[in-house]
């Protein structure tokens, strides 16, 4: 590949292709549409299917069907589309469906300042469906990470049989950058664990709560069942409170017990620093400049950049908080992820948000001024 000049959305699509994605369904919405167009141009070439569905509900519905037929699936939309995906995201959770969902955030609510950037969907993505079960959410800061994290999202979806979100932003997705994707290190590809031959296949059987059931596709040799309803290990409807609770604990444990495995952060910890900046996505790039400006003034500062937002990478955040008196959390929203930081920060640590949602990037100067850093 070598050096190229591409936008984040193309990198997302190419990350998906690298992960052997073989089914895509989506509905046009700026600023995510170029992912749909790229997948439509590329998947038929490898004998796979990409389709523009009649709406977002059909998009994710087709994806869930294809995923349970054994495909590695991707869908992409923007915040308003996630609203329409919502119920089916719950179906993917209860049905244990591997599925990668891209949300290219744009300013909202509703149609908002179509189609400028913002990051107003952080908590929405975490709590995007009924039932309140944990989600896996990754957030890239640049084109190379858009590629890498999409690929990793497929691995996580396969490993844990859950929907995984790539939460990006117009500012990463449609900004073109010089990048060499060959230089991006990718882990080995993960495929869902397939059922071994046994007499009686139970599609939702697991032993430890966090174990992931063995997969057998609809159309494979073992008859399988998939259901939106509370079910037992055989996939049959159950109203037994003990069985229902065990399944709920299982959905939660699959993701929560894997917290350390899922956590992806970048740390720039300065010994003796009492100020810590925590950020994610495009805003982390302004934080990098702000940190440089502070260090040029001989101010000590630590920086923690979150590439995985959920499950909250608690260990990394707690580790970065050691010795810190002030935490600055800049976000292109009214203050969302800061709530997770406030939960973790010890008493006495000042946690300051720098927030705006006016469609423009938060600048390094705004972080320094808003955080009272110089």
């Amino acid at each position: 590949m070598g050096l190229e000049f591409i936008e984040g959305n193309e990198a997302i699509a190419r990350g998906a292709m690298m992960a052997n994605c073989n089914f895509f369904a989506g509905y046009p919405i700026t600023p995510s549409s170029s992912i749909l167009q790229y997948m439509l141009s590329q998947l038929p070439r490898v004998g796979a299917v990409a389709i523009q569905a009649e709406d977002e509900i059909a998009s994710i519905g087709m994806c869930i069907g294809a995923a349970m037929a054994g495909c590695k699936v991707l869908t992409a939309t923007s915040g308003p589309g996630i609203s329409l995906y919502s119920e089916n995201i719950g179906l993917a959770v209860i049905g244990e469906t591997p599925l990668v969902i891209v949300n290219v955030q744009r300013q909202g609510p509703a149609t908002g300042a179509a189609t400028k950037g913002a990051e107003g969907d952080i908590l929405f993505t975490r709590w995007c469906t009924s039932g309140g079960l944990p989600m896996i959410v990754l957030s890239p800061a640049n084109v190379a990470e858009a590629y890498e994290l999409t690929y990793r999202a497929f691995n996580l979806a396969e490993q844990y049989r859950v929907p995984v979100f790539l939460l990006t932003n117009k500012e990463v997705s449609v900004t073109r950058e010089s990048v060499d994707l060959e230089q991006v290190e990718l882990p080995p590809l993960v495929d869902r664990r397939r059922a071994t031959m046994d007499e009686q296949y139970l599609p939702y059987r697991f032993e430890a709560l966090h174990d992931v059931p063995e997969f057998s596709a609809i159309g494979d040799d073992r008859i399988t069942r998939f259901t939106t309803s509370s079910h037992d290990e055989a996939g049959y409807l159950t109203s037994n409170p003990e069985e229902i609770q065990r399944m709920i604990d299982h959905y939660a444990a699959k993701v929560e017990d894997a917290g350390d495995d899922i956590a992806l952060v970048k740390q720039d910890i300065e010994s003796g620093a009492e100020v810590l900046m925590i950020s994610y996505g495009i805003t982390s790039r302004s934080v990098a400049v702000a940190a440089k400006m502070m260090r040029e003034q001989n101010r000590k500062v630590s920086v923690l950049t979150l590439q995985s937002l959920y499950p909250v990478p608690k260990a990394a955040i707690n580790n970065a908080l050691a010795g810190i008196k002030k935490v600055v959390v800049p976000e292109m929203n009214t203050g969302q992820y800061i709530q997770e930081i406030e939960r973790l920060a010890p008493t006495g640590v000042e946690v300051i948000g720098v927030n705006k949602m006016d469609t423009t990037l938060i600048s390094p100067n705004e972080i320094i001024q808003g955080g009272g850093l110089l």
Binding site: M1, G2, L3, E4, F5, I6, A25, T30, Y38, S41, Q42, P44, R45, G47, V49, I51, A53, E54, D55, I57, A58, I60, G61, M62, I64, G65, A66, A67, M68, A69, G70, E87, N88, L91, T115, T175, R176, E177, S178, A217, I218, G219, D220, D221, R222, I223, T224, R225, F226, T227, T228, G235, Y236, L237, A288, V289, T360, L361, S363, P364
Partner: protein, 450 residues
Amino acid sequence: MNTMIDTYLTDALGPLPFCPGCGHDPLLKALDKALVKLQLDPKKTVIVTDIGCIGLADRYFTTHGFHGLHGRSITYACGLKLARPELTVIVLKGDGGCGIGGTHLLNVARRNIDITLLVANNFNYGMTGGQHSVSTPFSGITATTPMGNVEAAMDLCGTAVAAGASWAYRGTTFDKDLPDRIEEGITQPGFSMLDIWEMCTAYYMPRNQLKKKDLVDIMERSNFTYGLVANNPRPEYGAHYRATYGATAAPEHKQPAIEPKFGNNVNRQTGIVVAGSAGQKIISAAGLMARASMYSGLTVTQKDDYPITVMTGHSISEIIVSPERIDYTAIEVPDYFILISKDGLMKARSRIEQLPSTCTLYAEQSLELPPTRAKVIRLPMIETAKKVNRLSIGVLALAAFVKDAGLFASDAFAEAITVFQKPAIAEINLRALEAGSALIHTNQEVKPCP
């Protein structure tokens, strides 16, 4: 040796769970008979159910089962069929599901995806207490139409046929030939649907004193066809998709890799704004210049702004070039501003007014500029472009800027144009590059590639 399958129903969960007299019972038994006649491989057959009492059905079959959300069963069925064309996909849906999922019915019919839809149509929502649905007959009594339904019933088959359904049939669970008709539906090569009218003995039947013979009377009163509604075979979507897109798909997407081979004079992050109009190929020209900077060993980002009505109004590109990694991608204070048109001026007026004296503004000479502290260089961009090709004005203006600013070499720009554009377009743009460069009479020495 294969043995005959004599039923696809399993009693592992006991008998079918429906109310005494419910039409779902004979409907599912008719489906079973059809499957027995077809002797389909259960491993290659999936029954997809919607929400409602009919949603309880899939687990009573020995095939694969997929029980999804209300109204969305068709979408899962389409995903399954597109992913695995060898599957026989049968959807069981109520009349309620046809309402909430109406668009999926229209679109599967329009696309002609090879699934078979069986509508268990009992005129109301049985699972939630007998509320009215899109198929409740006019004046019918339900929990939500206690004084009689004032809505007209939807002709489900007629609607699907209007949307393009290749095969549609309407009948009742009392029809002796129902298994044959279901078999016929399943064997159709495209989308097929059967709208099967039946009794909800819990709600609709007692509330309306509905009798067996009333079903056909209501069809007649409503002017709905009883029996085969349509049989118009046409190419199936999945087969057509694979034949068409599989054969003519785009080649693997590969951009030429860029090897730095020119030098540059850039020693810090430098912001360049280009403001012009739709149709002036601003984004494309800026992209070529961005690649020129990459040929010159620089890192680059590009952001574009234009109205959603893309063929009118402004078109603005912001390019940042740097010898290092670029973090913050906004340009607060441009180092260079290239103003090509009135649309660009109107959009960027306040920004131009605020340009500092450190900025150089290259402006089309016919534009009336607002007061600015920037160093202004006026150039006959429009007039010169007319002599080359008016669509090449973006490249022409940027060529003048590249030569004057000396950040990197015009040769790098020529390289980007040659490599990334089709020969006919490249030829025009190379002439524009030359014409734009000729507007600048100074000569900046660009450091060679290290």
